[in-house]
Amino acid sequence: MYKPDDKDIDRISRDAAEHYHAPGRPSWDALQQVLDKELPQEKEKKRRGFFFFFFLALGLSVAGAGVWYLLPHAATPSSLTRQTSSKPLNGSNPGTPLPENKLPETNAGTDKATASQSIHDQEKAASIKTEQPQEAGNKEPGNRKENKKPNETTTPPAANNRAVIARNSTVLPPANAQRVQSLQANLTERPNRNSTRSNARPTRNHPGVASTPADADALALTDKSSPRNRPYTTNNRKNTNNKHNTVLQQRANKEKNEKDISVAQDESTATATSIENEATAGKNQSPTAVTASDSLAKTPPIAINTQADSSKPAAKALTKAAEKKQAPVRKRAINIGLTAGVDVSTVKFTHGDNAGYNFGIMGGYQFSSHWSVYTGLVYTKKNYTLNGEDYHPPKHYWTQYVQLETVAGYCRMWELPLQARYTFNPSAKTPFFASAGLSSYFMKKQGYTYYYKTMNMPYSTDWTNDSTFTHVFSVLHLSAGFERKIGDHLNFQVEPYAKIPLGGVGFGNIRLSSFGVNFTVQYRQPVKR
């Protein structure tokens, strides 16, 4: 009888395995259903979309931060606005950026009277005569543009005074040399802002002086730059019995003989308050001051509209409003917040992987309006895949030679960031900020799947490690973002970040880069009243 030996058994088995026909037929539909769960096509699109929006947000944040950083240095209107907003709120602050007010109705009659008295300069009078009827009839803010046209001095907000000054000095007809001289003289007389204000008040309060052609010009042309001043004007004109008026009238009598000078005084007051540096410099009649006064000889005076300082209720109300408006950013404050976000980690950008997450608590101390420091404790999970050559386990870890292809891993850890933050525009509605600092990692758990080849056949092995790995200041943490106020003391922050490795982390000593965006709800220590 035939008795097959081992070789025969193996041979016929190999032949059979090669040539036999397995039962069953392919069912692609069934597999497709499985694939739709395991490898959904929409998921890829979503992931691409996420990356697109993430990098878009990161780019926009960086670009926005750059713009905010560059703007103040270019002496743009915003910088001037900041300068003027720091002035005292005594009503003679034409440069303060305030919302545009409507033209007071009481101005109409006064302006008409003003127009009738404008005789000191024929050229000016002619222009005023064409303007005043319009002014009297058009009390709506929308019509003011038309009033500005004849002189081509479309006065922008006070913040733009510098530009306007330059433009006016070239466009407007030659100003009265006498006015310019008197202006310069007045500027020389007023060494500082306070004296300017004291001089300006009587002039403004005096009916005869207040209703000069220059006043009319001012009403017509400067309401945008000092809109808040208009209620003052109204009040002042109504309260002619004000105790200031006695003093003012005396001064006005003196100044009646020197109308041009008084007009120039008003004008220079406006300039001095709106461009404080130039006004101060006017003491020495520096070129800057001359330019300012020269332009003011043509630019309608802003300060004239603010003549109602004497009206106390209005002044108080305005002061309060201005204080509210100028509610200063607290210079020293403690912040605390809850943060959460998504994290995308990579090693040398060679592989994509699922996003991880962050959540934790952050605290900060703001020691100036721009600068603050932050730290906190954040729990994070990172997923990553790396090439075999980027994985560096301790020596003698491999007991045999393996051709490591890729390593897919994850790690859970605590992160302790220490950051310095610079806020570009702390008083803005949406402040932008940039942070830089170092982070420490306290790795709690990590898991790896090794994909390797042995004898040119692929294998995979899973491995986890619960050992704690500590990496102090091993990551450079850069971020930029913005915040919005969502409550009295609550802010919501969006902060894209990048974490650049300064050394290897984890069991494999890998250089792990992370990118993501954190969303933080922050409680800011209230300001003591």
Binding site: M1, Y2, K3, P4, D6, D8, I9, D10, I12, S13, R14, D15, A16, A17, H19, Y20, H21, A22, P23, G24, P26, S27, W28, A30, L31, Q32, V34, L35, E38, L39, Q41, E44, E405, T406, Y451, T454, M455, N456, M457, P458, Y459, S460
Partner: protein
């Protein structure tokens, strides 16, 4: 590089992009190949079909790891790579179901086969031989498949199944012994049927 290789690489590229059409084409092309392997490692047909589909899912997930661009015989390389995935899937499945017990043979059913080894083994069809292999216990069947058909060494089998080399040799010996008995029984039956 031949047209066939280019075709395979095109399919692989499409599958890497999660293109269903490429995946479907690849599936239909390699289904019988995969099924033939899974069928040898399992005792039930539906089990083999499930493992086949599972192997394809793993293939599509890890296809980006395949690097066949620099090889001459892309098809052979690709099939060998896929075969490795299939075998790993089968072994994982058996391990998950506790059908692989380290180094121990549970083959009472096959040992109960009468020892009649005097028939012509070559008379058996391929399907009958495969059916005989499928009758072995999971651990014997796996070791026999890996050694006799896949051509792995005992060391590799030991590493793969996480058993000792001695256990692998012992299991192979017992697998052959039982298989011989099964085949003999089968041929005896065939001879009896043909004689009638």
């Amino acid at each position: 590089m031949g047209d066939e290789a280019i075709h395979i690489l095109t399919l692989v590229d499409g599958c890497c992009k999660n293109d269903r059409q490429s995946q479907g084409t690849l599936y239909r092309w390699l289904y019988s190949y995969a099924m033939k392997i899974c069928y040898r490692y399992t005792s039930q047909q539906h089990e083999a079909e499930e493992l086949t589909n599972e192997s394809f899912v793993k293939l599509f997930k890890n296809l980006h790891l395949f690097d066949g661009g620099r090889q001459l015989n892309t098809e052979a390389l690709f099939k060998a790579w896929f075969k490795r995935i299939i075998i790993n899937t089968c072994i994982d499945h058996l391990r998950k179901n506790h059908q692989l017990v380290n180094g121990h043979a549970h083959g009472t059913d096959s040992e109960a086969v009468p020892d009649t080894q005097e028939t012509a083994i070559d008379k058996l069809s391929y399907e009958e031989i495969i059916e005989a292999i499928k009758q072995l216990t999971p651990v014997y069947r796996t070791v026999f498949n890996l050694f006799a058909i896949e051509g792995m060494t005992h060391e590799e089998i030991a590493a793969q199944l996480q058993i000792s080399v001695g256990a692998s040799k012992s299991n192979l010996s017992k697998a052959r012994h039982n298989l011989r008995k099964i085949i003999s029984h089968q041929t005896q039956y065939n001879t009896y049927v043909q004689a009638r």
